[in-house]
Symmetry: C2
DNA sequence: AACTTACGAAACATCATAAGTTACATAAAA
DNA sequence: TTTTATGTAACTTATGATGTTTCGTAAGTT
């Protein structure tokens, strides 16, 4: 399955915006991400809606941080981007009242929910200023 | 992204095979899973290669368990099915030596690896006989 | 031997979603 | 007025599980 690289890309962008200290155009960000400006705008728009970046049109315009890095967590950006779930594994729900299917789904879902909770908790603990400073994994 | 429901489907099949105590055709399993026999054969073939089921051709043929349920874990089936990763999130690796990208990927990967380890460990703890008996979540 | 059943497998179509692309409208500064 | 940029719609591409058609092969039945 194709992976969703938006979280990685947007975090990368946000830290660069912090370091550059001035507006950066979608064109420039696209060059940085090896993609094109429309993809950048489409994805950055999700962060703008949540108040993490702002965009200015016209000469000298572009994207700037709307909040300092230490007030943004990986979880904030993750949530801004995805409505879909974290896992490639899906459950089936095609059967009326089969107790086996229910047990199977319960077993899988139990584990995945715990894992997702772990990811969200850990994402929530990492603010973006830690990435700028050089991230050191907890493990 | 489309979800991979093979784990859910195969676990469902294996527990039914245990309970039925006789060979079941791909046609019958397809009816059960609301799909078609070719999809069943394609997926079951991965389990056959690992020795969890066996297939017999001709009259009275079909699929049977090759191991008792208590000797098969969710992890065994998960591993038989997937070479791909567990998460919809992917990292970018498009840049030469950007320390920010490295820090971003390290931060994300650190969390995902921990979550994947949790999933694999928990999957490894659940044998399929527990699903037949009625699974009770640990939480 | 001929027929039927069932798996094995190749080849191709479908679906969903991020990503990529094209085109045009709109706002702001020069 | 021109240039620069974002905003957005519409369409195409890529990927991998899923779905489908078709034919080959093995095993039991008649």
């Amino acid at each position: 399955m194709r992976k969703d690289s938006r979280l990685s890309r947007m975090l990368h962008v946000l830290v660069h915006l912090h370091q550059l200290q001035h507006a950066v155009t979608s064109e420039q960000l696209a060059l940085m991400l090896h993609t094109n400006p429309v993809v950048v705008r489409r994805t950055m728009a999700l962060l703008r809606e949540q108040g993490y970046v702002s965009a200015v049109k016209g000469h000298g315009g572009g994207w700037t941080l709307a909040k300092p890095l230490h007030k943004i967590t990986l979880l904030d950006i993750h949530r801004s981007l995805s409505e879909s779930t974290l896992f490639t594994i899906g459950l089936t729900d095609e059967h009326n009242n089969c107790p086996i299917e229910k047990a199977v789904n319960l077993a899988i879902d139990d584990v995945l929910q715990e894992a997702e909770a772990l990811v969200l908790r850990r994402f929530g603990e990492v603010t973006l200023d830690k990435l700028a400073a050089g991230y050191i994994p907890a493990g």
